[in-house]
Symmetry: C2
């Protein structure tokens, strides 16, 4: 099942059930008005949404309409909680090396995770606005899950059943500010502005052949202005799995339904698969040629992130955003 949120007067958007090929959609206000409402009542709502989804995929819904991706918000236009891990350790090792910073303590025994901005995400085809190009805007291509209510103290062995939806995530980052914020210890405030997600969120059964119960095995494509940055495999070199991230997140708190958990910028040890952010490309260039060449994002750039299935069909639709900087660059 694939779900989306269409822009409307509500800050939560209007819930849509979307056909597998993303061509058609239907509004379902009698089942749930918003994605947030659906996830909070998932046990009751999911079978009803799935029945609509099955009929939609069979062309049997009378009031279905052609889906226009540019009318979509992120599947959750906002959320009560967004937690982002950093579990592709090669990314952190490269990023810290580029900053001349040490690796954090215990980074191989418990996942790094921060509480992220969630009060308003930018849509998958909306422009992303940065205040200043000199802050070194970067993207990070990631995969995020959405859970239902998770009790405090839930262990890894019980965690996977709480995973209800999967989305692509573009976790925008201002590299100039990570350098100054990380040493303060309080996490990211200015260095992590809002993020965007793929046009649709999908249930696990839509990607069952690419999900092993702990990790997804996607080739996560990202491009800037049509230039391929990379297509790393999300199942490789993932040091902590999604159930491990959930266990870590809920050790001293419950997680409310609709909590979004990302796993961090995807990168593989094998650099032939390229990169999932600019910072890594720059450090690779520095190491191999003595000079970083790929510029950080600037006004007018287009960032593209997508994943295809084995038949070459898009799973989540594409994140395709133009960059706008208010000054600098």
């Amino acid at each position: 099942m694939k779900l989306a949120s269409r822009r409307c007067a509500s800050r939560d958007g209007e819930l849509l059930v979307v056909s597998r090929d993303l061509s058609r959609a239907v509004s379902v206000p009698n089942i749930a008005r918003s994605m947030q409402q659906a996830i909070e009542t998932w046990d009751m709502t999911e079978p009803k949404l799935r029945a609509i989804s099955d009929q939609l995929n069979q062309g049997k819904i009378d009031n279905a309409f052609d889906l226009h991706l540019d009318e979509l918000e992120s599947p959750f236009p906002r959320s009560y909680q967004f937690l982002d891990g950093s579990v592709y350790l090669h990314h952190m090792e490269k990023a810290r090396k580029a900053r001349g910073a040490e690796m954090p303590p215990n980074y191989k025994t418990e996942p790094l995770m921060y509480q992220g901005l969630s009060d308003r995400f930018v849509g998958p085809t909306e422009p992303m606005i940065f205040p200043d190009a000199d802050l070194e805007p970067d993207y990070e291509a990631e995969v995020a899950i959405v859970v239902d209510d998770v009790p405090m103290g839930t262990l890894r062995s019980e965690a996977a059943k709480h995973i209800k939806l999967v989305m692509l995530l573009n976790d925008y980052t201002l590299r100039a500010l990570t350098k100054t914020e990380l040493p303060k210890g309080f996490g990211f405030m200015q260095a992590k502005p809002t993020s965007s997600f793929s046009p649709v969120a999908v249930t696990i059964d839509e990607v069952s052949s690419l999900w092993d119960g702990e990790k997804f095995h996607f080739s996560l494509i990202s491009e800037i202005n049509g230039r391929r940055m990379g297509q790393p495999n999300t199942g490789k070199d993932m040091f902590f799995s999604y159930p491990m991230l959930i266990e870590h997140a809920c050790r001293t708190r419950s997680l409310s339904a609709g909590t979004i958990i990302g796993a961090g910028s995807v990168t593989n040890q094998d650099e032939s698969s390229g990169f999932g952010c600019i910072a890594e490309a720059r450090i690779h260039e520095q190491q191999t040629t003595g000079q970083s060449k790929t510029p950080f994002l600037k006004n007018g750039d287009e960032v593209y992130i997508e994943v295809f299935d084995s038949q070459g069909s898009t799973i989540f639709g594409a994140i395709r955003q133009s960059i706008k900087t208010l000054k600098g660059g």
Copy 2:
């Protein structure tokens, strides 16, 4: 005007207008169902709520009822964003000294602030549950503001007008985990479980004689099991003001209506006003007697936080919570 949220089937609670003396209240579903809905439509909603408030204070509302504080959630039972500063630098200096940790870089040129858990706050008289007493549970007595929509880049000079509500805040902290999480740089995940707020949130006019446009001048009383911990003045030794916190928070993001901003554990240089958390009492004891005596919170303890006006009347009602630990201690 004083506002509260009564526990109900909705995760957002039921909005109540509360009389100045906190004795009476009225439900206002025709104006706004929840506090979140009210703050998102504040320009339209506030005059209507204020008219009800005026009538309620004059005893002219027919369907008013006696207010029972134990039926209340935190004024925002959940929020899309909770940001907490640490601007009483003396607190940080003492806390870091106790841990043997350095002060963070630039701590006097820009405020420390973290993105906090906001998906479910605990109510002002609800028990607070910690997984393990050995994690050294502590409280922090704070004052928090609530803003309406704040555009990215709003400056200090324009920030104060966005402040719509004020509340007391108990920012629970697991001291054993701050020691391990702070050096990781990603902020607080496990070390800051959920927080609680005072029974009511009040508009600025309710505290106008104690507000100078930048800071509140409250004596912030806190007690554990009836033993006074302190009553520091919130307007003294506040290194960064609320408008400065807003300016810092919105440098690279807009802030959505309902964003809660705390200023950190209140403490004065003059230690005769006591403390606003256990950690400070312990370091004071260590320094003066060679031994920390005040224990961290344990099963069955009661935490109390309140502020009175110059006539001795409660402004926000009291946070009065019993502590429950699932193991240890």
